[in-house]
């Protein structure tokens, strides 16, 4: 049987959702026999591949590069999962939304700098006015909340998908926890 093609990515997140994934500990060996991780921060693929079965997206959408990436992911993914509160609701990244983008940038690069004070602009993605949840840009098939989602819930979703079932998340995870 061919392995299920799984991808993961982080956008405007803290990597905590990915760490919670690794918190499945030794079960990673069992998982390795069933899935192929075709794209992820922890493997060396540079281009998002075609025909991905499941993609876990951590983080909010905050920059033009994030939009480009999420659209490309959607095109090439069968089941797209909003992975964690930042992807689901924009969570912590959205706390910057009550300020003007200018103010947020000025704090870091004008006020809190001693040399060359200016906003970076070259060869880096442009920042959006506000951080937004993933489903504002593309259709999301499954919402896996939590900050981060518990590793049990992540493992549960993947194994149910691998078994061809629709994941039942009732009681397994909640916002914030």
């Amino acid at each position: 049987m061919s392995k299920t093609r799984v991808a993961t990515t982080w956008l405007d997140g803290c990597s905590g959702c990915h760490m919670s994934f690794l918190d499945i500990d030794e079960r990673i060996v069992e998982l390795a026999s069933m899935i192929e991780l075709v794209y992820s921060p922890i493997v060396d693929t540079k281009e998002f591949p075609e025909n991905v079965d499941v993609t876990l997206v951590e983080g909010a959408i905050s920059s033009d590069a994030d939009i480009e990436e999420i659209i490309n992911i959607r095109k090439n993914t069968k089941v797209l999962i909003s992975f964690g509160d930042c992807a689901v609701s924009a969570n912590v990244p959205a706390m910057r939304n009550r300020f003007e983008r200018r103010e947020v940038i000025d704090r870091a690069y004008i006020e809190n700098a001693n040399n060359n004070n200016h906003a970076p602009y070259q060869n880096i993605p442009g920042l959006m006015k506000s951080a937004r949840p993933v489903h504002e840009f593309v259709q999301v098939d499954l919402f896996l909340q939590g900050c981060p989602p518990p590793s049990e819930a992540i493992y549960g979703v993947l194994s149910q998908l691998l078994a061809g079932e629709y994941p039942d998340l009732k009681g397994k995870t909640r916002f914030g926890a």
Partner: protein
């Protein structure tokens, strides 16, 4: 016409970045840049929040070292309260921090870098990852998975949650340690020792294989910075800052954390969201210094625990002065894991460790506070100002990875000069260029605490007039 190579995204690192390399008319590497492409805005977004929320909020800067952020933050808040926290709370924070060093260093060493070290920098990129390692070196891969788990379980035992717990608070911690949790952690210690000792021994015997990487992975003179305790020993939470020069002579010692601004400046480059801290007295960019595992072992007089001290003595004798190659960060990480296990074992046997008085209460008594700790990746500084109600009015954070920004950029140039020939970038050159970045184990979600970009690190070969030649 000169040209640019882009490597994008940089993989097996924690966060978002890319690398561009400029090639001149004669096919020589002219310049190389490491662009951090994510910006998050924490220094602004926390404005208006009550100061006591900060330790939990800033944990969300980073899912790998949330404990470091929560402790640096709590220390800044302790200073705002103006209290001396209970003795046992200091120890409990220290114990929790040991769990984090074990899991974070294990992740960097085993999950991210061991594929290069064991399968080779030139091995098949499709297999060169933790899954490939599970097949090719199953027992070593399991050592990594288990050691990381032990670190995470330690955090869970103290704080009730592996990632983003809410246990460290202004004034101390919010729950004493139970005898049951103490025993649970004590029981994990023997296996942790076995794994790290086994790993040290294979790593040391394989060092010879990496001569070229040692020679080129940011191997140049710089200053180093780190916290040390009152005896000058390795210290992760409570010490004072020390700077040494490239010969090993102490430049500044005993710097109280709240004076960081007299010694560290931050510079901005137009092509990166990550600022470059520098040693203020020497100006920019001459004030280049490094922080992190190898830097800490370079600045201290020893570790202060017997097993780690033995390893430290071997480490420090690698070179006549400070150990210059950033490749040795991998080695230093293992020594720091060993140190953390020893510290854990000592503190868990302290007679007062189950003491119930773990938190001091007060209203905000000061309008400003600074907290400095050594995070796994280097010195981490949180600095807050509050109003009369204790609401945050301003914040500055210098994160561990930022300290190494100048050195990472120079390191990328050094490796590119050694391994790139002409305008084509080979797979093995690319992986070594990413390898130098991995040696620093940068955390780019941290470093750009400040908004966000593209997933992973990317490397680009670009012409002088800005055409992209080759992209990986």
């Amino acid at each position: 016409m000169s040209e640019t190579i882009t490597i994008k995204p940089v993989t097996r690192v924690e966060g978002h970045g890319k690398i561009t390399i400029t090639i001149d008319n004669n096919g020589n590497v002219e310049d190389a840049k490491f662009h951090v492409t994510q910006f998050r805005g924490f220094e602004k977004l926390c404005e208006g929040r009550p100061f006591y929320e900060m330790p939990s909020l800033v944990e969300r800067i980073c899912g790998i070292c949330p404990i470091s952020h929560s402790i640096a933050s709590a220390k800044a808040c302790d200073a705002i309260l103006g209290v001396r926290i209970p003795h046992v709370a200091v120890k409990l924070r220290r114990l929790l921090n040991c769990g984090e060093f074990i899991q974070s260093h294990a992740l960097s060493f085993f999950h991210l870098s061991a594929p290069d070290l064991l399968m080779g920098f030139d091995s098949d990129p499709a297999r060169r990852n933790i899954f490939g390692l599970i097949e090719s070196h199953p027992s070593i891969a399991m050592d990594g998975v288990k050691l990381r788990k032990i670190g995470q379980e330690i955090i869970l035992s103290f704080a009730g949650k592996r990632i983003h717990p809410a246990w460290v608070v202004p004034g101390g911690v919010n729950q004493p340690l139970s005898e049951q949790s103490r025993q649970k952690i004590v029981d994990m210690i023997p296996e942790a020792y076995e794994i790290v000792e086994r790993t040290l021994s294979w790593f040391k015997s394989s060092i010879e294989k990496h001569r070229e990487e040692i020679r080129t992975f940011s191997n140049f003179p710089t200053m180093f910075m780190g916290l040390v305790d009152e005896h000058g020993n390795l210290e992760h939470l409570e010490g004072k800052l020390r700077f040494i020069d490239s010969k090993g002579a102490i430049l500044n010692d005993n710097i109280e954390p709240f004076r960081y601004h007299d010694f560290i400046g931050e510079s901005v480059e137009s092509w990166s969201y990550l600022k470059s801290p520098y040693y203020l007295p020497l100006g920019y960019p001459d004030g280049i210094y490094r922080a992190g595992p190898a830097a800490r072992l370079n600045v201290c007089n020893g570790c202060g625990t017997p097993k780690a001290d033995q390893e430290w003595a071997e480490f420090i004798s690698l070179e006549r002065g400070p150990v210059m190659s950033s490749f040795y960060n991998h080695y230093a990480r293992l020594i720091e894991i060993l140190y953390s296990i020893e510290l854990l074992e000592n503190l868990l046997n302290d007679s007062d460790i189950l003491d119930k008085h773990v938190r001091a209460f007060a209203q905000p008594n000061h309008f400003e506070g600074v907290g400095v700790v050594e995070a796994p990746r280097g010195t981490l500084i949180h600095h807050y100002k509050v109003d009369r109600e204790g609401l945050i009015t301003w914040a500055n954070m210098i994160v561990a990875t930022g300290n190494n920004n100048l050195a990472m950029n120079r390191g990328v140039l050094q490796v590119a000069r050694r391994f790139i020939n002409g305008t084509q970038i080979t797979e093995s050159a690319r992986n070594r260029i990413e390898g130098v970045i991995r040696a620093f184990d940068p955390c780019l979600s941290c470093s750009t605490h400040a908004i966000n970009g593209k997933s992973g690190l990317s490397i680009e070969l670009v012409t002088m007039d800005g055409n992209t030649l080759d992209e990986v």
